[in-house]
C-alpha cells in the first residue's frame, strides 16, 4: 500500500439474510483527508463503517486499513483508530472526566499522560467547569463534543464518525466541523457519514451510497461539475401547475419546489432553458427560466434517480389506484 492511502476496499459486500446491505463497494481514502459517505438512511453507510473498523465481518471483499488486513488484524487496528457511534455510546451514569479517564485507560495510556491529555481535552472541547457533570444530563451538542473528545483521546491516525451530527443544532454542527478540520491539519484521516448536504460539501472527497451501492465518488467540485448545464431555475408564481407541466417534458428528472421557485434537473444534452420556457408558455404559465449552478443535492438526485424512478412510478400508480 502506498504511503498516502489510509483505507482501501475492493468488492466490499455484506448480506444480512436476503438483504444486500452493502453491495460490491470499492473505495480509496487518502490520508489527512475528510472522506464523506453521503446517503439516505438504510443506504449502507453504518454497515460499511463497521466493516472498515473490523466490527462486522464482510460477506465478500478485501479491506486494508492503515496497512492492516481487516478483519484479520482488527485487534491491532483498534489502537490506531477512534470510532464515534451513531448513538451516544459513552456512559451516561459517569461524569465527563470519568468517561474520559476510562477511555484513556482502556487505550493503554499511562495515568500521567491520561491526566494531562484529559485536562487538555476539557479545555479544547469546552468542558471547563463541567468535568464533574454526568454525561447523561448534557445536551445533544455537548454529548457529541464529549464523544468526539473520547474518540480522539489517544490521538488516533484514523477517525470513523457515524452520523456524528444527527442529533445536534446547526451551530454545534459548525463548531464540530471546525474541530474536524483542526484534526486533519494535525494529521488525522477522517471518514464521516452523513445525510446532510451541507456537511457533505465540506468533505475533501465524497462517496454517495444508495441501497448499498456506491453510485458516485469524487470531490464535491468534481461531482457537481459533472452536472454543468443540467440544472435550471424556474421563477414563477404558479409553482404547482408549472411543476406538473414540466414533469411531462421528456428529459426532466426532477422539479423541486424551493421557496418561490422550481429547481429543475434534466438529462444530459436534453432540454435547454428555451425548451422549458416553451413548455410553460404552452401550458399558459408565465415564468422565467435560467441556468443555475448545480449543487450536491442535484448530484444526489441525479445519481439516485435511475435506480429509484421505476419504483417511485410503481408506488405512484398504486396510490392513484387507491384514491
Amino acid at each position: 500500500m502506498d504511503g498516502d492511502v489510509a483505507i482501501r476496499a475492493r468488492g466490499l459486500s455484506k448480506t444480512f439474510g436476503t438483504l444486500k446491505a452493502v453491495d460490491d463497494v470499492d473505495l480509496t481514502v487518502s490520508k489527512q483527508r475528510i472522506y464523506g459517505f453521503l446517503g439516505p438512511n438504510g443506504s449502507g453507510k453504518s454497515t460499511s463503517i463497521r466493516m472498515l473498523c473490523g466490527l462486522l465481518t464482510p460477506t465478500a471483499g478485501e479491506i486494508e486499513v492503515l496497512g492492516l488486513q481487516i478483519p484479520a488484524q482488527a485487534e491491532i487496528l483498534r489502537q490506531h483508530i477512534g470510532y464515534m457511534t451513531q448513538q451516544f455510546s459513552l456512559f451516561t451514569d459517569l461524569t465527563v472526566r470519568e468517561n474520559l479517564e476510562f477511555l484513556a485507560a482502556v487505550q493503554n495510556m499511562s495515568a500521567r499522560d491520561a491526566r494531562a491529555r484529559i485536562d487538555e481535552l476539557l479545555v479544547e472541547y469546552h468542558f471547563e467547569g463541567r468535568a464533574d457533570q454526568l454525561a447523561g444530563t448534557m445536551s445533544g451538542g455537548q454529548k457529541q463534543r464529549l464523544a468526539l473528545a473520547g474518540a480522539v483521546i489517544h490521538k488516533p491516525e484514523l477517525l470513523f464518525l457515524d452520523e456524528p451530527t444527527s442529533a445536534v443544532d446547526p451551530e454545534s454542527r459548525r463548531d464540530f466541523w471546525e474541530k474536524l478540520f483542526e484534526l486533519t491539519d494535525a494529521g488525522t484521516t477522517i471518514l464521516v457519514s452523513t445525510h446532510y448536504m451541507d456537511e457533505a460539501e465540506r468533505c475533501h472527497r465524497l462517496a454517495i451510497l444508495e441501497r448499498g451501492r456506491l453510485v458516485a465518488d469524487g470531490s464535491p467540485a468534481e461531482l457537481t461539475g459533472a452536472l454543468e448545464g443540467r440544472t435550471l431555475l424556474v421563477e414563477t408564481e404558479h409553482q404547482r401547475s408549472a411543476r406538473a407541466a414540466l414533469m411531462k417534458v421528456p428529459g426532466v428528472i426532477s422539479a423541486a419546489q424551493i421557496g418561490n421557485s422550481l429547481r429543475l434537473l434534466t438529462e444530459r444534452g436534453q432540454a435547454g432553458p428555451e425548451k422549458m420556457q416553451q413548455a410553460l408558455s404552452d401550458a399558459g404559465i408565465r415564468a422565467q427560466v435560467a441556468p443555475v449552478e448545480p449543487s450536491l443535492e442535484d448530484v444526489f438526485v441525479a445519481v439516485t434517480h435511475s435506480a429509484s424512478r421505476a419504483e417511485r412510478e410503481k408506488a405512484e400508480a398504486s396510490s392513484e389506484e387507491r384514491s
Binding site: 466490527l55 465481518t57 482488527a74 470510532y83 455510546s89 459513552l90 451514569d93 459517569l94 482502556v106
Partner: protein, 374 residues
C-alpha cells in the same frame, strides 16, 4: 490481560454501581427482606390455628384432655365434627388446619400405653406441621397441676407421653427443618441476585450502545468479563455477611464449622452464578430476555437443589438434573459446614463440582463473547 485496562473496567463498574440506586437497594434489600420473610417459617410459636375436635369417647377424661389442648392456645375450634372422616373433609376444604380425634376406646388405649389421640394435620403447610408438634407436648391422661407436683416422675413419663399422641401429616410427609433454611437462604439469594446482576449488566451495555464503543477499543473479552465479575463477587460476599449476621443474631442459626470454610463455599457459589450470568448475557438480546433466562436457572435451583424438598426423595431424573445446578452442591457444602461442623475439604466432591462448573461457564462465556457485532 492488561492490569491497567482491567482496573479501568473495575473502577467504571464500581462508579456506576454507586450511582445505581435500584441495584444498591436490591443488594441490601433482597437479603434482609428474604431473611425476615423466611424468618416466619423458622419462628414456630404459632397460635390460633383453625381446628376441629372429634371427641368420640365423651368421657370426663377425654373432655379434660380437650380443654388442656385448647388451653395451649395453639388451636382454636372453628367447626364441629363427630368422625375422623368429617375431619378429613374439613381439612381437605381448608376450613381447618388441625383435626383432633379422640377415639371411643381412649381410656383403654391410655391404660395399655397405646396411642390414644390422633392429630390430623394439613401437611401442605409445613408451619402447621411444626405447630402440631407443640400440641403433642400436651400431657395426655394426667392433669398438668398434678404433673407439676411430681417432677421426678415426669421425667420418666416422657417416652410414654410422646407415644400417646400420634401425628399424621397429610400431603407432605417430609418436614423441612427450620434451621436448614438460613444456610440454604444464602444460596437462594446469591443465585437470584448474582445471575441476574451480571446477565443484565452486560446486556444493558449492549442496549445502551456502550458495547459498540467498547469493542472498538483495545479492551479484551477477558478484561471485560473479569471486570464485570469481580465487583459483583464483592457484592455477593457483602450479602453473605449480611445474611450470616442477621441469621445468627435474629434466629440463632449456628455456624458449627469454620467461618473461613463458609466464605470459601460461598465464594465458589458466587463465582459459579456470576459466570453463568455472563454466559446468559452473551445470548440475551435485551435486559428482559436476560431476566427470563435467569428464571430458567432460578426455578429449578429453588425446586431441585434440596432447598425446598429433600434431595433423596426426588426421582432419579430430577436428581441428575439437580447435580448440574451449582446450588445443589452449595447446599451440601454449607449445611455440612454450618450445621454439622464439617470442613469444606471433607466435602471435596461438591467442592470439585463447583470449581468445574465455574471453569466451564467462564470458558464458554469468554469464547462466546465476540468483539464483533455479527
Amino acid at each position: 490481560m492488561n492490569t491497567r485496562r482491567l482496573f479501568a473496567v473495575l473502577q467504571k463498574e464500581f462508579r456506576q454501581m454507586r450511582r445505581d440506586r435500584m441495584t444498591l437497594a436490591m443488594i441490601i434489600g433482597i437479603p434482609i427482606m428474604q431473611l425476615i420473610l423466611f424468618g416466619y417459617a423458622i419462628n414456630l410459636n404459632l397460635r390460633h390455628l383453625p381446628a376441629a375436635i372429634a371427641d368420640q369417647a365423651e368421657t370426663s377424661a377425654s373432655r379434660r384432655q380437650v380443654m388442656d389442648m385448647l388451653a395451649t392456645g395453639v388451636i382454636e375450634p372453628v367447626a364441629n365434627a363427630r368422625t375422623p372422616e368429617q375431619l378429613m373433609t374439613l381439612l381437605r376444604r381448608g376450613e381447618i388446619s388441625v383435626g383432633v380425634v379422640i377415639p371411643y376406646d381412649y381410656e383403654r388405649r391410655l391404660a395399655l400405653g397405646q396411642e390414644a389421640i390422633q392429630i390430623l394435620v394439613d401437611g401442605s403447610d409445613t408451619v402447621v406441621q411444626s405447630a402440631a408438634a407443640q400440641l403433642a407436648q400436651v400431657p395426655v391422661g394426667e392433669p398438668p397441676p398434678e404433673n407439676n407436683t411430681r417432677l421426678p416422675n415426669r421425667e420418666s413419663s416422657v417416652p410414654q407421653r410422646q407415644s400417646s399422641v400420634s401425628i399424621v401429616s397429610f400431603y407432605n410427609p417430609q418436614r423441612v427443618s427450620a434451621i436448614n433454611i438460613v444456610p440454604g437462604l444464602i444460596g437462594i439469594i446469591l443465585t437470584m441476585t448474582m445471575v441476574m446482576f451480571t446477565a443484565v449488566a452486560i446486556v444493558r451495555e449492549r442496549e445502551r450502545g456502550n458495547m459498540e464503543l467498547l469493542i472498538a477499543t483495545p479492551v479484551s473479552s477477558a478484561e471485560l468479563m473479569i471486570g464485570k465479575v469481580l465487583p459483583y463477587g464483592m457484592v455477593g460476599l457483602i450479602q453473605t455477611s449480611l445474611i450470616l449476621l442477621l441469621g445468627t443474631w435474629l434466629f440463632g442459626v449456628p455456624i458449627r464449622g469454620s467461618l473461613l470454610d463458609v466464605y470459601l463455599a460461598t465464594l465458589l457459589l458466587i463465582l459459579a452464578n456470576l459466570t453463568m450470568g455472563l454466559l446468559i448475557s452473551t445470548r440475551a438480546q435485551s435486559q428482559f430476555q436476560a431476566m427470563q433466562m435467569t428464571f430458567f436457572v432460578f426455578l429449578p435451583s429453588i425446586l431441585l437443589s434440596g432447598f425446598m424438598f429433600p434431595f433423596d426423595g426426588m426421582p432419579k431424573a430430577a436428581q441428575w438434573l439437580a447435580e448440574i445446578l451449582p446450588l445443589t452442591h452449595f447446599l451440601r457444602l454449607i449445611r455440612g459446614v454450618m450445621l454439622r461442623g464439617a470442613g469444606v475439604f471433607e466435602l471435596w466432591p461438591d467442592l470439585l463440582a463447583l470449581v468445574a462448573f465455574i471453569a466451564l461457564m467462564m470458558t464458554l462465556a469468554v469464547s462466546r463473547f465476540r468483539k464483533r457485532l455479527d
